[in-house]
Subunit: 159 residues, 2 copies
Amino acid sequence: MDLDVLSTPGHLISLAARGFARLSEARLKPLGFGVGHLPVLVALQDGRASTQRDLARFAKIEQPPMAQMLARMERDGLIRRAPDPADGRSSRITLTKAAEARLPDAVATLLRGNHEVLRDFTDEEARLLVALLTRLIANLDRIASVEASPGTPIPEKGD
Amino acid sequence: MDLDVLSTPGHLISLAARGFARLSEARLKPLGFGVGHLPVLVALQDGRASTQRDLARFAKIEQPPMAQMLARMERDGLIRRAPDPADGRSSRITLTKAAEARLPDAVATLLRGNHEVLRDFTDEEARLLVALLTRLIANLDRIASVEASPGTPIPEKGD
DNA sequence: TTCATATATATACGTGCATATGTATTCCGG
DNA sequence: CCGGAATACATATGCACGTATATATATGAA
């Protein structure tokens, strides 16, 4: 029964994530992006975040990885940092022209990849997959918040 | 429309995978295992692989990461390596008693985690999710093999 | 004002994964 | 039997992610 554990959603999701990441990485590389950059790029362009903290929250990663990624992105000419005039601890982060120019291509590439991977899925199946994953992620978040601080009221539906 | 790309199956799967990994990692830690160890442990116990190469294939990771993981697992007393009498390049890898003893707990822990995460899923929904993921992974594999060697016949259904 | 605390970021380190490349052994054709 | 190709593994390097912890600036209360 041990093989069981390799047929669980948890393991399958891990496999799928690695496969997707490899594919996307390979295709974004010529554009000078990495998969992990996308949430940052999108957030910056849409004005949904402009500090390291907000970007980390938006991308749902911790602050140290975000700091490292921003350092690499700055090194690679994708973003710029300017000291925040109002807060000496913080920096305002902006996209460079180059990054902005190539972002639409990157987004299109990723969307195309998704389309290819779901090639034989009906629209209904694709919607279903997204819905199931969304619920699963919500459950994961709920469990994580409970394990993190036992005794804290569980965030209900509207998180 | 850029937020789009963060609602794709690709990105959702990535989020789900990280959430699952964090949860499982935290729960396996007290047992002395990591999430990535499981395919190795299972393969070794079931006799489905006993060399580095076969373990890497089984776990669907590349050889260098597998080498590193085995080095850590050996360091941590989970596996042992013995020179292969028949092939001087290769080592036969076996589980230690300690790892074998704790493996059932680890498997149970992961299965329990899956159960919790799918708490509000009907059996039908859970089956559907697994089926959709399995198809998606197959598509990813197919695309990967095409991109890797264009012009090579695509492996059909029975890979 | 000043000190304790909170916040924003930085740094250190470990793991998992990738690619690129080196080394040693086996295998095979001549 | 011998030299080159294939194979098994090791090593170097880089990115993404995590935790733990340090540093610097803000902020608020006494």
